[in-house]
Amino acid sequence: MATRPATFKSTDSFSGSLDNYMDSIVEVRPEAERALPPEPESPVMETRALNVFYGDFHAVHDVDLAFGRHEITALIGPSGCGKSTVLRCLNRMNDLVTGCRVEGTVTYHDVDIYTKKVDPIEVRRHIGMVFEKPNPFPKSIYDNIAYGPRVIGMQIDDMDAHVEEALRSAALWDEVKDKLKQSAYGLSGGQQQRLCIARTIATKPDIILMDEPCSALDPIATSRIEDLMTELRNSYTIIIVTHNMQQAARVSDRTAFFTAKPDETTGNRTGLLVEYDLTKNIFGRPKDERTEAYISGRFG
């Protein structure tokens, strides 16, 4: 293997062994690596024997995951492996899908959020979500941010300051401070997505779920969102679903690899968790050969 050129920054054109592959990723964002215990200590959120069905279709099979506080956890895997389904179980967004049934437990600070006495609306107030396609409300930039705090009844003395703080945390303030009263639809796709992150931050959630937040964005906007995630990690627990393995490698602390297994009789593909470990292990020393095949590009 030839020596890497000094200017090598991108992993896109890379064709080498797994070790060098990982090296190049770490070089892009060295701050992503930090000392973490092999298992999340006192995790904020845990799933046990999580099974999800859409009608008769078994979408996800027996997922056990634990999410560490102020860590970024990435869920990766090929299309149809159930990673987005798992994510939507974590704040009960799956309730809104007709015919969706969840079995097993999802505990949040040791409360099973799927028991009768739990209010799903209260769960979503604590666990915010950013979607694949930027979905700002058809309102002004200011009102997009102020909407969340208003509907959940947060006691805020100075809404202007609150909006500014949220926009600053999402690294959007400098770009929009002169047009807060203009429609959010005038922003670019990347700005809209950061607005959606700011909107979530404004409600001061505990956990932020992100469902492929960069898949509709160009590489520059993607890189800004990734920077933002690394900053937000200091105050929030982030769980992100991504198609982009380099992204998972760049930003996340832990990675869960999912795959889809076709049912022998029906041919329906059921998603299952293959391997869950520190990101550097998943990308550097995967234990399961399916993981290795996927991240080295031989499958998926």
């Binding site: 609306i121 915010g128 909407y147 509907v151 959606c196």
Partner: protein, 304 residues
């Protein structure tokens, strides 16, 4: 090389593309085009002849007396439609007050909260489609029954007429409002719910404001259907000869279509003229309402 592959050369492409004629303009498509134009021409001509001949008939009566005077049996040439115009305005306002909130609420329930798999919701759904096609006179009968149940002896009042018209346009309003609500992308609802908003807050603060243009258009189109209706009003006993202004929801009333109907049944030529002029007034009212609907739709239209 597979036999299905075509060989494209400079010569073969030139020969095929620049033939000097267009298959767009052969005789078949020309005949088809002429047929379309004839149908269009026929439809528009019938309408135009109707409107122009009515306008010519009524030409002598476009004066202030037409809209400021009550109808007169002594002076046919000075008969006016003041009672009918004011009555129609009162009826429309009362109809809107009753039908719009009810229709929007029903549409919101069906679209946002109803479980479409339940048998009762499916029955409502099915009936709604049928109700829109029920003859208007049936709604007149229904309104008579409603007024009798509430306990009104005299039914030919603003309230009675408005109940009939509100029942008539309710299906139209519900159906158009549902379409407007359905056009709001789910992304918006999920965005709001993911912030911890309740379904009610999401409907009230996101879905409904976003569907205002569709709701307004549907409502106004419903009202412009109601404005020309005479049958249900006749059935509930709204009289043609009323010579005072309506003063409230319980006041006896007449409506422009009814007054036109009773005026045309008079034999004198002057009444025919007055009726023709009143028809034009009614047409202007309908067109104004439709114009308002288009204006609202264009002004608030949003591309998702």
């Amino acid at each position: 090389m597979p036999s299905t592959t075509l060989e494209y050369t400079r010569e073969s492409v030139q020969a095929a593309v620049s033939t000097g004629r267009s298959r767009d303009r052969n005789s078949k498509s020309l005949i088809f085009l002429i047929l379309l134009w004839t149908s269009l021409f026929f439809g528009i001509m019938v309408l135009l002849v109707l409107i122009v001949s009515t306008a010519i008939d009524g030409a002598g009566r476009f004066d202030s007396a037409l809209i400021t005077k009550y109808d007169s049996t002594l002076f046919p040439e000075r008969t006016g439609f003041r009672a009918g115009i004011l009555g129609t305005l009162w009826l429309m306002a009362t109809t809107a007050v009753m039908a719009v909130p009810l229709g929007i609420a029903a549409a919101v329930y069906l679209e946002e909260f109803a479980d479409g798999t339940r048998w009762y919701n499916r029955i409502i759904e099915l009936n709604l489609q049928n109700l829109a096609a029920v003859p208007s006179i049936v709604y007149g009968l229904l309104a008579v029954a409603v007024m009798a149940v509430i306990g009104f002896q005299r039914k030919g009042i603003v309230l009675g007429g408005a109940i009939a018209l509100a029942l008539l346009i309710l299906p139209v309003i519900i159906i158009t409002t549902r379409e407007a609500i359905r056009a709001v992308p789910n992304d918006i609802r999920f965005g709001s719910l993911a912030l911890g908003a309740t379904p009610l807050q999401t409907t009230w603060r996101q879905t409904l404001p976003s569907s205002i243009p569709g709701i307004a258009t549907g409502t106004i189109l419903g009202l412009s259907r109601a404005i020309g209706e005479a049958a249900p009003l006749l059935l509930i006993g709204i009289a043609g000869a009323v010579r005072f202004d309506p003063t409230g929801p319980l006041s006896p009333v007449t409506a422009l279509p009814i007054q036109i109907y009773s005026t045309t049944s008079q034999s004198q030529e002057a009444y025919q003229q007055a009726a023709a002029a009143a028809i034009i007034v009614l047409l202007v009212l309908v067109l104004a309402l439709n114009g308002l609907a288009i204006f609202i739709r264009n002004k608030f239209q949003r591309e998702w």
